[in-house]
Symmetry: C2
DNA sequence: TATCATAGAACGAACGTTCGTTCTAGCGGA
DNA sequence: TCCGCTAGAACGAACGTTCGTTCTATGATA
């Protein structure tokens, strides 16, 4: 026996997948609704049946990806015993994402969402960033890392991996990021450990 | 005595200044030629007298800012005696830029130029980035910094300041970056010094 | 089982708007 | 007079969106 309407939202997901590919390749404004129709194989009328307008497709994508990232961040920060282990796990997760679903990372990290989602806050004020800041404060209080401004801590730990990720999803870096994890983390931990 | 025709290109510069403000606030696609006309006070006809089209305005901006950045990078890397001093000077320069001309940095670092300047290489393959990589290799050979992949070195040194800059030009960081230079650099140099 | 009724998914031509660009007329200093 | 420059109306293309219609699956009725 089948699940209740397992295919009900199949076209909806098809639209989202196609849109993510297009947005990450050509950007929001460079992607027309006709492009989405061609890439997804779903007709214009059907697209507007599932989404109110173009912006709502972008919002749906953004929210879903941010939620996923937020969950993972929260997961590692609460289950790993140390700040070090949590950060390592997070960076490994991002590095793996850069290899497996580069489109998602590109859309989430690279795009200036304020250009086409003006009512959304920039990603750095979003939940994952706040979770990190709080975890950093606790790690400083516990003496695991040196004392510094929480934002400096966060940028020191994640600034360089993020830049590596952008180089990778842009196709400038030809080797998988996982090859560089140890080296990169070695630098980061020297920088902040107590 | 005045320079030769100092005012000849006054409208041209007015257009570029206005466009930079608009692009950094609303993005390339969010800015119409009518917006540029209003912001610059130069008529549509005059704008098209000085520039072939919208893309050429963006290219002129991009090239000018990149050239300026390239010059500075080259200057510090060749005149400062150590890699450490050169990097410090560069980061201080960027931090100062973030305070004084945030629009320029925002346009140069944040925008996905591939969306509207498809024939331009991403900024990370541009001259300043290459200069840094080469300087990093020399510093490793000289024993000033530890051995690692040159790209890891570059992202470790500049990844975190760049992220601080983005937080600042986005208005998330409320204090001038110069306040955080010492703290940030302390982390960076721990990370990479031999 | 056969027939009809209904809902809503899918369709794509057509619409109105906005955009970048072109065009033509005219201004003003040399 | 000439010419660099300015002006802004007009143009055509491309865009996001709408809308009247068709298709399809399901349920009700007899």
């Amino acid at each position: 026996m089948k699940d209740i309407d397992p295919y009900q939202n199949e076209p909806r997901q098809e639209i989202l997948d196609a849109t993510l590919r297009l947005f990450s390749a050509k950007g929001y404004f460079g992607t027309s609704m006709q492009d989405i129709r061609k890439e997804s194989g779903v007709s214009i009328g059907a697209i507007y049946h599932y989404f109110k307008n173009k912006e709502e497709i972008a919002t749906a994508l953004y929210d879903a990806l941010l939620e996923q990232m937020s969950e993972r961040t929260n997961h590692y920060l609460t289950t790993e015993k140390t700040f070090e282990a949590a950060c390592q796990a997070l960076i490994k997760y991002f590095f793996a994402m850069a290899e497996e679903t580069p489109h998602a990372l590109q859309f989430l990290l690279y795009a200036r969402h304020r250009e086409f989602l003006p009512h959304k806050n920039p990603i750095c004020t979003a939940k994952p960033f706040e979770l990190l800041i709080e975890a950093g404060k606790r790690a400083m209080a516990a003496g695991e890392v040196r004392q510094m401004h929480p934002v400096v801590l966060a940028t020191t730990v994640f600034g360089s991996p993020m830049r590596l990720i952008l180089l990778r999803v842009d196709g400038i870096m030809e080797f998988p990021l996982t090859d560089f994890f140890e080296e990169s983390w070695g630098c980061i931990w020297r920088a902040v450990s107590a």
